[in-house]
Symmetry: D2
Subunit: 314 residues, 4 copies
Amino acid sequence: MLPEIAKLGHIALITPDLKKSLWFFSEVLGLEETEVVNGTHYLRAWGDFEHHTLSLTQGEKSKVNHIAWRTKRPEDVEKYAELLTKAGTDVKWVEAGEEAGQGRAIRFKLPSEHTFELYFEMEKTQPGQDRKAVLKNQTYKAWRKGTSPRRIDHVNLTTSLDASIIHNYLIENLGFKMREYIDLGDGNIHAGWLSVTPLVHDIAVGIEHDAPTPNRLNHLAYWFDNAQDILRAADILSEEGIEFVGPGKHGISQAVYLYVKDPGSGHRVELFSNSYLIFEPDWEPIKWTPEDLRVGITYWGQDAHEISVDSTEA
Amino acid sequence: MLPEIAKLGHIALITPDLKKSLWFFSEVLGLEETEVVNGTHYLRAWGDFEHHTLSLTQGEKSKVNHIAWRTKRPEDVEKYAELLTKAGTDVKWVEAGEEAGQGRAIRFKLPSEHTFELYFEMEKTQPGQDRKAVLKNQTYKAWRKGTSPRRIDHVNLTTSLDASIIHNYLIENLGFKMREYIDLGDGNIHAGWLSVTPLVHDIAVGIEHDAPTPNRLNHLAYWFDNAQDILRAADILSEEGIEFVGPGKHGISQAVYLYVKDPGSGHRVELFSNSYLIFEPDWEPIKWTPEDLRVGITYWGQDAHEISVDSTEA
Amino acid sequence: MLPEIAKLGHIALITPDLKKSLWFFSEVLGLEETEVVNGTHYLRAWGDFEHHTLSLTQGEKSKVNHIAWRTKRPEDVEKYAELLTKAGTDVKWVEAGEEAGQGRAIRFKLPSEHTFELYFEMEKTQPGQDRKAVLKNQTYKAWRKGTSPRRIDHVNLTTSLDASIIHNYLIENLGFKMREYIDLGDGNIHAGWLSVTPLVHDIAVGIEHDAPTPNRLNHLAYWFDNAQDILRAADILSEEGIEFVGPGKHGISQAVYLYVKDPGSGHRVELFSNSYLIFEPDWEPIKWTPEDLRVGITYWGQDAHEISVDSTEA
Amino acid sequence: MLPEIAKLGHIALITPDLKKSLWFFSEVLGLEETEVVNGTHYLRAWGDFEHHTLSLTQGEKSKVNHIAWRTKRPEDVEKYAELLTKAGTDVKWVEAGEEAGQGRAIRFKLPSEHTFELYFEMEKTQPGQDRKAVLKNQTYKAWRKGTSPRRIDHVNLTTSLDASIIHNYLIENLGFKMREYIDLGDGNIHAGWLSVTPLVHDIAVGIEHDAPTPNRLNHLAYWFDNAQDILRAADILSEEGIEFVGPGKHGISQAVYLYVKDPGSGHRVELFSNSYLIFEPDWEPIKWTPEDLRVGITYWGQDAHEISVDSTEA
């Protein structure tokens, strides 16, 4: 049986201004801190079930350390290690505990140099009594602070390479399915939205022609239950004096969005709501062409077009 | 490779007052009609991708004809036929076209006498130009009429039998996973919420001790993008003079709900929003006990407890 | 020119458990504290423009000290003193500064023994820089904590007397207009909703036959911009383990509501949204009769009927 | 006693494409038609209490025929006629019935040539039984079609003259109060928001330097109960292929907005929600300066700046 990826796990960010990034992610966005180990802060949203979905570590410059995916079965990590090695990918093992809460994992680079991590074991850390939800199926009490998203949603990468190479790598080696894509008719797939779950995308990968490095992070996204939560987030960000793009609605993915940069690291976060789920097993990827690209990028609201080519190093 | 179920497909309802049921589902709920074939009306929500998620047929008395599930692969229907037969279940074939839009399918009964259908092939019928969405990833324009849900969500069954028997049948024969359940400590699992998708439940099965038949439908559910859409639905139903229970929020599934009966057939529909998704591959089913059952049933809002034992024949 | 009342000013509450009441109003509801003077805590919502709209003082038992109304003009306080005295009402002066922020005021009792206060002068106290809104037309940053209502809305009183006596007193002596009322056809006006502003009611007064005192507080209300804010409040209250009635929508006033008691004092607060405004100068009061009373009290949602006869001393 | 204006009554629009304008206002916006008299269509929102708040008449070119205000008392129309004449304004009488539903009225021009109408008498026309609300305090059932606003809100005018002249005329002759204004420090008041009600503005008047006529309509506005209704409107307009600006939130007035032009006439409509109410009798007008103008115009969302100088003839 082939190994499978269950879900996006977490994104490990390096920030040159940890204090400011912590203020942004904890107080403004409203993530909860699971624990701090060796200077790395492990964060998650109130509805995330894993030990962390984001980590912040002080570093010389802003960077993505790795993007982690949880496998479906414990043995899938080992299986992926074998398959990827066989496919010519250089695989490195990360020992259990090297990352707080996490068991043995592997790391490797996409053809675009983005670092991926695959793991299965993760400690089921519970919040303290004062923050723990009354609801048995929810981690923390919601609405404790900041914009208060429910859970991590997806990651959006860009590369100076041909995006199709990355799409194909994700599809062939990791089991992703293409859900929607932009085909400008010039022989390139400009961008693709892919998932292993019924979410429209767990990951998107697009071309960013003039990027200084091949491995770029356009944004990571946290999910909100209601579109109006995005408007509330807009109020909160405005009062904190933090600029953002949105609110708006993408045609692609049908997401109600708002894009904001962590003022500590410059990494961009999408506050994300609505969208749709794909349960159909014979889904035909939605193709967006030059004729309907405008609707695809910005169905309504503040235009999201310009941010598609503004990224940080991943 | 074992066959798998991809998703809940549709519910085929028999109504003694087709005209009133059509008014309710089309005009009040706001479902769209795909086509009418041999007196059966095939309906779906604006965001449903399949040919239909509900069908209405005139009959002597209110009943569920069958509950249909789509398989992951075309060959899974045949595979399920074999496995189920081997497991002692009586399997009947339904020829392609017998149900509009649908390919060859099988039907069989759960131990509780509920009729299930499994199919893979389904015509990809597009709406006419005036109702077709501008969005390429959406079937119909949204908000055209009535409460306007996005898509089918789940089905909730009750039985006079031991519910665990049905839970186990679903788990062992059809690949469902238990997500949440009520254990009153009396040796019975009172009710279970199960899914094949990351939805908390595609199906729930509970005990209804004094039910006149073992196969009961508690409700079927349609999903809305935002909790406020449920409040808007409450306005619309009130103005139509249709009684309902809710709005409220279940602890179990975290759903914001409103329950309303089709005045034509008496079948109950849940208007459903928010809730949460389960991506964790090692999910431990949430157990609700007598101590926390009140929060589980009604976290807030109009109590949903009484409706748990009021069902129609399935 | 006759004196006029401009608006509901504030409600001064006595609580036997100041600490718990402060936790409830400041942390759970999310009111801001302007200042503490002589043990009295002066609170207001983020969008209130006055020095305070609520005050909390420790006392032996739960009670309303007074309900204050701002006059349209400075001289109206003196004019009301004269007119009320002439009408046989006993008027007492409250000197400037006796209540923090407030100028010279009068106090008097309604025929039902509810204590009213009339004032005009009120200090325009600004919040500290960290809490001050970026928006120049808003007092505090919104969404800082708790349910976060925008402003005070109305007060709802009950009495063991004939409610019409109080309605007439408010209309004849204080310039209120009747907006909606319940006439059960037994010769009594069961309850009336009255206002000096375009709000459907700044005050409601209803009969509570078996009340131990003639002067009762059914509730005071704070206003939220959106119905969904009420659902968010329901989550917050549920997580704090505080019981409440709602959400629901009254026919009368068209308010989306949620009723919750301060666990420190037992005084009830309505979290209130939507509703409508009356700008018509020839408004004919809406009469609700036994035939439509159910819709009037609870258009939808958790029934608000039982709380109409459960009050605290005013 | 001086006459007073109670509220904005209606806007009478001339459209060169009546059919398209009717489609826009009736089907897309979702206004209800009270009646058609002599080719003029009289419309109102489901929560408007008057006979009409908008009228549409076919004409050679797009124009505002008049903007009507209801007086507080019947005799105020006559009193205004006298006072305005005395102040040098040319006043014309409009006989009862000349405009459907309306009693005797006067018309006159502001110094900017905008035509105002003042009336008191208006027929209380009820909707037919199928459209009438169950709620006794609401005119029509809500949510019947289109975006479905509750009521008319305000009108926004521009002029090539010094806006202060118009502000002063409104304040001195008609009793409006200044609520917020833009002072760019160049000796001009760029724009002012004024009201006779607790709404932040019933009318706004701004400078439009290069306007071809002195009397311009920037937009008229309809009000929605919830910010999310604005997002729903954005979906509906997008599916109809109608362009708009927004959603966004103004600092000035704190309105959540969306601006859309009637494709039949080019007249702009603001879909408007949230905002705040002013009950304080000693309100100090909020002054927006070059330093904070950006926040004043667009607190967040798609920039509304460009539309401030794009108007139709009034």
